[in-house]
């Protein structure tokens, strides 16, 4: 894997990684461990993990380490803990293992039924419905509790697919899927390529293309997995996309998993549309396709409780529910945690207030990030959900390559001291995109991060153009590539003529997809920016030779 080697070279945690490599190498040589143990499918060599490692070594602290790295690579929701803490203060029973004043510690300590605490499951499905504006309801008997969404996604893979099968995933996607879906299951991921040209939405052709790709690799496609709202994009899927997906899985007779872990983070007025809602609206209940749609959920993002390991699988198919329930033995939710959260989520007054306040705070924080980025001359994908923004730094790349993206990422981590996640770690097909989190730090820290970024951007200019020129150029061309500075005033006229002749011959010899000159002109006019040469006249009389 080119990327992991590159990251190893780049990373200051070289010693640690070398040590690990050595350990694994020895183990491999002695054939002591399994293939799964010594392969790289755990995904920990990816840049996003390495970034976190660097952060650990030099973590920002307002007082103790103000020059440290600010963590913007961790999608945590730290904005609403005060609401949780005040609920705890008002509900001492839940906190102290009591029900109606009586201790239930013993019952909880002994409760290991993989069906889960009934009151918790009821509270959880009600909460899920509330997040969806109560446009859909969920049956507690169809929910399976797991140790986080990590376990939920893996368990679903074990239930629905085997070694040699594949799931299609739209890019960019959460890097953890490479481990969660593939490592121990032997299932493959085939990407559905999404591009910035249409805001990374899923298209019919992209789906078909991915399906064909899988077939070419002799992989049997068992389903599609989408994250909605999307990580890393921070956008919700449109109804059209959801319809498209339902049509596709119906046609191919495959499963659809909708990871809705961020469903409670949708903060704009454009509401979240769950796949269940679309199925219902299309009267597809109790049809074949109904049984093939499964939802993954967790309280790690919406409630900000990743440490408590609360994940869930919701399936309409009772057979999947039964199989997944048995498998959940390998990662049940602690009964202590189930009890606390069943009390919390059963308090409807609390959940209503929490959902509403959480949304407002996320929206507020997101807009601060967006405006901070704007001040630094950076745009991002318009988003309405999630704990992060999908940031466009293509214009800051030295070339339109992933190597350049890694170079830029290194600079941002080590020089600007911000840990953000490069798009390549999310399998984005276009270099230059980064995921930047905004909900895992105090507001002041976010401000500081934006200031650092602004200073950094100011220090980079392409061909010494001023910021203003840069902006203008970007606005005009939309494509950051193809700008060349051509000096004209330092040669005699004849030489200039010769130069232009040579240039003209060169351009004539280049065709895009065998287009003729005429078509080339038409194409250029259509796209406005395929090949643009700007000739600038500048006075050099006052300048030294090496500045030219």
């Amino acid at each position: 894997m080119l990327l992991s080697h590159f990251c190893l070279k780049a990373s200051y945690s070289l010693y640690e990684n070398l040590k690990e490599i050595d350990i694994y190498q020895r183990a491999k040589e002695m054939e002591l461990l399994s293939r799964k143990a010594t392969c790289k499918s755990h995904g920990q060599d990816s840049s996003s993990f390495l970034g976190c490692q660097e952060y650990e070594k030099n973590a920002y602290d307002e007082v103790k380490n103000p020059e440290g790295i600010i963590q913007m690579g961790l999608a945590e929701n730290q904005l609403s803990f005060d609401l949780l803490e005040s609920w705890l203060a008002k509900n001492p029973d839940a906190a102290g293992f009591k029900r109606d004043g009586q201790s239930i510690f013993r019952e909880l300590a002994l409760f290991q039924d993989y069906h889960g605490l009934p009151t918790f499951k009821k509270a959880l499905v009600d909460f899920m419905a509330e997040i969806r504006g109560n446009k859909v309801t969920f049956d507690p008997n169809h929910i399976v509790l797991t140790a986080g969404a990590t376990s939920a996604n893996e368990t679903l893979m074990f239930c629905l697919a085997e070694q040699g099968d594949a799931f299609l995933l739209p890019t960019p996607y959460y890097p953890g899927f490479d481990r969660d879906l593939k490592w121990r299951t032997g299932v493959e991921i085939v990407p559905i390529q999404c591009t910035s040209s249409n805001r990374f939405q899923i298209t019919k052709s992209a789906l078909e293309e991915a399906y064909q790709q899988a077939q070419k690799k002799n992989l049997r496609v068992k389903g599609v997995l989408v994250t909605n709202p999307s990580n890393p994009l921070g956008t919700t899927m449109t109804r059209a996309e959801l319809d498209l997906l339902i049509n596709f899985i119906t046609d191919k007779e495959i499963h659809l998993i909708s990871d809705e872990i961020y469903s409670g983070t949708v903060f704009s007025s454009r509401a979240f549309v769950s796949i269940m809602e679309v199925l219902k609206d299309r009267n597809l209940e109790n049809t074949d396709v109904w049984d093939r749609v499964h939802i993954v959920y967790s309280l790690s993002k919406d409630l900000g409780l990743p440490g408590f390991r609360v994940g869930a699988i919701y399936s309409n198919d009772p057979i999947v529910v039964a199989a997944a329930t048995k498998m959940s033995s390998f990662g049940l939710v602690s009964s202590q945690t189930q009890y606390l959260l069943s009390a919390m989520l059963s308090d409807k007054k609390f959940t209503k207030e929490y959902i509403s306040k959480n949304h407002k705070r996320l929206q507020n924080r997101q807009s601060k990030l967006v405006s901070g980025l704007k001040k630094a001359g950076i745009c991002c994908l318009e988003s309405n959900a999630g704990l992060f923004c999908w940031v466009d730094m293509r214009h800051l790349l030295s070339s339109n390559t992933f190597e350049a993206e890694m170079e830029l990422w290194k600079r941002i981590v080590y020089d600007v001291k911000l840990n953000i996640s490069p798009g390549s770690s999310c399998h984005c097909t276009e270099p230059g995109w980064f995921r930047v989190c905004f909900a895992n730090m105090p507001e002041d820290t976010l401000k500081l991060a934006m200031q650092r970024l602004k200073s950094f951007v100011s220090s980079i200019t392409i061909n010494n153009q001023s910021d203003k020129d840069l902006k203008n150029a970007r606005r005009r061309s939309r494509n950051k590539w193809g700008w060349f500075r051509v000096c004209l005033a330092n040669r005699p006229d004849d030489t200039l003529k010769l130069a232009v002749q040579r240039l003209k011959s060169f351009v004539s010899s280049i065709t895009i997809n065998n287009l003729s000159d005429k078509d080339l002109k038409k194409a250029r006019r259509r796209t406005r920016n395929k090949w643009v040469f700007r000739l600038s006249f500048q006075s050099f009389h006052g300048r030294q030779q090496d500045e030219r």
């Binding site: 690990e20 350990i23 020895r26 183990a27 002591l32 461990l33 399994s34 143990a37 010594t38 755990h42 949780l84 803490e85 705890l88 203060a89 839940a94 906190a95 102290g96 293992f97 201790s103 239930i104 510690f105 013993r106 019952e107 909880l108 300590a109 002994l110 409760f111 290991q112 039924d113 993989y114 069906h115 986080g148 990590t150 074990f158 239930c159 629905l160 697919a161 099968d165 481990r179 121990r184 068992k222 007779e253 495959i254 790690s300 990743p306 440490g307 408590f308 390991r309 057979i319 199989a323 997944a324 048995k326 033995s329 390998f330 990662g331 049940l332 939710v333 602690s334 009964s335 202590q336």
Partner: protein, 476 residues
């Protein structure tokens, strides 16, 4: 139509075995002293319910351990956010210290080698994924815990090859038996990657002596295969001889430490199966590293890590708990086995665990497993006790049953014994002289007096308000 995977659609979960028919009988008709006095008494569940009162007293004195109380809430946010698969340092330190204390502080455990998992269930599966590839095998001495069939094989594709142990020598693990099993695997073209022992043993309730352990370590070294020691019942050794852990043996014999791994949990020693605290402790760096990454699939809830860290860091509490727990287990065990012997029922001599290995061979109509099943049906449906037949533990000989004694209060235990006595009387299995009856009755009274000292008000029934199930629960 997109079908389920073979793993999901098959029987690898093991719940179709007759072991779970007993659960079903219990589920449909659970005993309750007042609501359902004729119900089935659960004696198939290896739970430790004897020390909750002691633990509760500690909790009352330490509200900060519960992280959500006024005293503990300042830790709420950082704990709720903590999802590092290394686990909380204080949690690992507390576990390492506890494991050391349980072994009489004869060995020290390194907190950096502690890896979390979703209970011992998750630990076993995780270790198997890391040590063996599909089609390879582990040797396991019989009889063994039925859950291993699922935990080690289901999703991993790894096989289990039994090491046959027999009652003629009290089910000892002999070198011959190990070699025989290994050779059989070779003949069948199965590559053996390791040996899994449970020490103290489930279902036998016995511990492995030093010589056997040394012989086992030398065996695995010779064959260059792994040794996984499931020491989940380590703190339930209530009588001499003292428990000897693998961790001690490797200090005494030459061996390749990269082959040595321990699986642990708080489900039996502390009685906390609901909290899902599983531990993998390996002397192999690569395995520690790999299982740590894999533990993402079954981390211990940070809320629980916080509670356990507080509790097990309290040296006084831990020292007292270990002693108290052993005393209670000893008393229960002694009374139960004595009462059974009075009606002519013997059991394997044991000094650990939450159960006894009951010998009902002489009650079998024939020396066959069918006869064992018939007898078992009678015990469930007529005697109304859920006990576990030896065949579900892959026992080589029919007629043995595992009977749990630590998962109920004293009154329920008395009821169970009464039913056994009545059954035996009907079957003329043993004549019970009148004077012996009286002696037993007086002993019962005196026992009750002692037990009353420990009983807390409110804990009257094993039938908790919340539905109780084993780790694997049969449901149609």
């Amino acid at each position: 139509m997109a079908a389920l995977s073979k793993i999901a659609a098959g029987n690898g979960h093991g719940e179709n075995s007759p072991y779970f028919d007993g659960w079903k009988a219990y589920e449909t008709n659970p005993f309750h002293p007042t609501d359902r006095p004729e119900g089935v008494i659960q004696m198939g569940l290896a739970e430790n319910q004897l020390c909750f009162d002691f633990i509760k007293k500690w909790l009352m004195k330490h509200p900060e351990a519960s992280l959500c109380t006024a005293e503990g809430v300042n830790k709420f946010k950082e704990t709720a956010l903590f999802q590092d698969y290394h686990g909380m340092p204080e949690f690992r330190q507390a576990i390492a210290k506890f494991m050391g204390k349980v072994r009489g502080d004869r060995v020290k455990f390194d907190p950096d080698r502690i890896v979390m998992s979703g209970g011992a269930t998750g630990a076993h599966e995780m270790v198997t994924f890391c040590l063996a590839d599909p089609g390879e095998a582990f040797l396991v001495p019989t009889p063994y815990y039925p859950g291993f069939d699922r935990d080690l094989r289901w999703r991993t594709g790894v096989e289990l090859v039994p090491v046959i142990c027999e009652s003629s020598n009290n089910f000892k693990i002999t070198r011959n038996a190990l070699e025989a099993a290994y050779e059989k695997a070779q003949e069948d073209n199965i590559r053996v990657k390791g040996l899994l022992i449970t020490n103290p043993s489930n279902p036998l309730g016995t511990i492995l002596d030093r010589e056997t352990l040394k012989s086992i370590v030398s065996f695995i070294n010779e064959k260059n295969i792994h040794l996984i020691g499931d020491e989940i019942y380590a703190a339930t050794v209530f009588m001499e001889p003292e428990f000897v852990s693998i961790s001690e043996i490797i200090e005494e014999v030459e061996c390749n430490r990269d082959l040595i791994h321990i699986v642990y949990s708080l489900s039996k020693d502390m009685g906390f199966p609901g909290f899902r605290v599983g531990i993998v402790y390996s002397y192999n760096d690569a395995l520690v590293s790999c299982t740590r990454k894999m533990s993402s699939f079954g981390l211990v809830s940070s809320q629980t890590q916080h509670l356990i860290a507080s509790m097990l860091s309290d040296d006084d509490f831990v020292d007292n708990f270990i002693i108290k727990s052993k005393k209670k287990l000893f008393k229960r065990h002694e009374y139960f086995t004595w009462s059974l012997s009075q009606v002519g029922i013997g059991s394997l001599k044991s000094n650990a665990g939450l159960f006894i290995w009951m010998d009902l061979r002489k009650l079998l109509k024939a020396k066959t497993f069918e006869a064992e099943m018939d007898l078992w049906q009678v015990i469930i449906h007529e005697v109304k006790l859920n006990v576990s037949p030896g065949s579900s533990f892959h026992c080589h000989e029919p007629g043995w049953f595992r009977v749990c004694f630590a998962n109920m209060d004293d009154d329920t235990m008395e009821t169970a014994l009464l039913r056994i006595r009545d059954f035996m009387r009907k079957n003329n299995a043993a004549m019970i002289p009148h004077n012996k009856l009286c002696r037993r009755s007086s002993l019962k009274l005196s026992f009750s007096r002692r037990v009353d000292d420990f009983m807390s008000p409110g804990i009257m029934s094993p039938h908790s308000p919340l539905p109780q199930s084993p780790l694997v629960r049969a449901r149609s």
